[in-house]
Assembly symmetry: C2
């Protein structure tokens, strides 16, 4: 007997909400028939979108939320004024235990602020981080932090490494992920002081992390390690630079194929190949960034995604819940904290 897993959805977040969210839930239900949803939003709008008697209608409960957090609302304002918003009520339902996790395509800053306020960070974690996975030459890798923490110290980076390790095990199914710290060279003396200190801490740590030292920007696409650890500023720039480069090459590719008649014919014949390429770099496949370090599963979908992308973000939440992600992080962080205390005791 499989226990039903219940996830809360913020139906009002995202450019094409709430329809995109409802269609995404339907798609996810095809992949995970045992899934149950609590769907938060304006009940009239939601009821109009869900066909009575459909699979989704049977698997979902609509919970009315009168307010919506705007996509450009400041986090502090949303936190104070958004207590009756779909986003906030969806997070509250994780705290109360009604749901095992929440998925939202709404305002990232507001979601992080509310999630921290309602769910709190795990014991031993100073700051939550945003993690996501993406394609590489060797398969898929995880990178964190992607923008939650602009300034990070060595201790933050070490905690990110531990959380990234468990995330890669849970979502990518890796047994012992390799971990690298993003830097401007692989030699020990390069980079910011806090990065070098984090590397020393990871090398000396008794945790079972497979730490491989420093990696550089081109190692992200190469897939040199499974988990890339960096501060939120660098991670955000790297992620968006990669997205921008992929778009640029896509444009160049289309323009090149239009440059001659022969190329146009070649283009037509190559359609399956080009579709295959497009699918491999489709950002919707890599949709679903996880807020790591909170006492609850919170997955952020890209705001501009469609139902297919949103269903993938739901899939990330399912993986994390089923793998007992929060308990595993708690266990590893406890080990790390004990270790630090023992080292302090030994040093006295």
């Amino acid at each position: 007997m499989t226990a039903h897993l219940t996830l809360s959805l913020d139906a009002m977040g995202g450019d094409k909400a709430p329809e995109m969210v409802i269609r995404g839930a339907e798609l996810a239900l095809e992949r995970f028939p045992d899934l149950r949803f609590l769907i938060f939003g304006r009940d009239e709008e939601l009821n109009a979108l869900i066909v009575p008697g459909s699979k989704l209608a049977n698997a979902a409960e609509i919970r009315h939320a009168p307010d919506v957090v705007g996509s450009d609302a400041k986090a502090a304002v949303a936190l104070r004024g958004g207590r009756a918003s779909s986003m906030r009520l969806a997070i509250d339902s994780v705290r109360s235990g009604d749901a095992s996790g929440v998925v939202s395509a709404g305002n990232t800053g507001a979601l992080m602020a509310m999630a921290k306020f309602v769910l709190h960070t795990l014991p031993g974690i100073d700051r939550p981080a945003i993690a996501s996975f993406f394609p590489t030459q060797r398969g898929e890798s995880v990178m964190l932090d992607l923008g939650a923490n602009i300034e990070c110290d060595a201790e933050n980076l070490v905690q990110f490494a531990v959380m990234g390790d468990i995330f890669a095990r849970a979502v990518l199914g890796l047994e012992r992920p390799t971990i690298g710290l993003l830097n401007v060279g692989v030699e020990g003396q390069k980079g910011h002081e806090h990065i070098r200190r984090a590397a020393a801490m990871l090398r000396e740590s008794q945790t079972p992390l497979d730490f491989r030292g420093f990696v550089e920007g081109d190692d992200i696409g190469a897939g040199t390690v499974d988990v890339i650890v960096t501060d939120g500023f660098t991670g955000n720039v790297a992620l968006k630079t990669a997205e921008g480069t992929a778009k640029l090459i896509g444009l160049f590719l289309r323009e090149s194929f239009k440059s001659s008649l022969l190329s146009r014919i070649g283009y037509l014949l190559s359609q399956p190949a080009i579709r295959r390429l497009r699918s491999r770099v489709d950002p919707r496949r890599y949709n679903g960034a996880m807020f790591l370090g909170l006492n609850g599963i919170v997955v952020k979908s890209h705001g501009g995604t469609d139902a297919f992308g949103f269903a993938n973000a739901i899939g990330v939440a399912v993986d994390l819940c089923r793998q007992g992600f929060i308990e595993r992080i708690k266990g590893e962080i406890q080990k790390l904290t004990l270790e630090a205390e023992n080292q302090k005791a030994a040093a006295i």
Copy 2:
């Protein structure tokens, strides 16, 4: 009558040196027939590579340098022990006025250390920066710093903006380049404090810079601005992430085309289109990073490049020399310094 321009070449730097350097000089001479070279390296090796009576033989003078700076030598060690190296003697020749600029594909750290020691920074410039240009959706853009300065303050970033502006005018031929500061969001309150302070300084400055505020990682490929200003850590990660992404998509493209017989035929017909694409993202075309802020033209070629790439790096040095780059930077920095002094005086 065109005055001859003389450039010094470090013939011993780069993976395929010295042959790559000599062939690169020959290619550059075809584009710039008036160019003259001082070629530094082991004279026996160089004499064996240059055909007597050839165009290059007539345009070049070989200057013997017994030593070579190793590609993995520490900068400080190279600076102390490399006084008779091809790299050092080539830089010395710019200082003495024998040459207008120097091009080297050797060790970046050693080249920067030697160039700073021998040529000094320009008055008003605290730290030199590394700048390069690259393809975008709108043409080409310049980014700096790409790795010379891991830690930067607001004043450094403002100086980079001024130098990047003049670099874009000289090398890309733009009349009034647009300038952006790389950040994790376009809103004013985002990012590191020194970046926000640099933005305020650039907005209030009386210099004729066309400052457009913050840009994000995906704006690099989009070509949103002509000059992207950032610290050396972020710039290096962004550049290498873009390179890694381009490689990844190239690999996916080749694999996709091999996935079916029809795609293979399409691939054959599309050869001109694919060649055109490859040429547009060919890193050799964008070879030649400039060390900005020194009292002399120093261009760093990628160590792994070939003769075609090295010739392009020589081309960057030619553009900078012909545009009176150093004098223009001196003038703009002087204005900026005067302005800062006036503001201080007004504040008293």
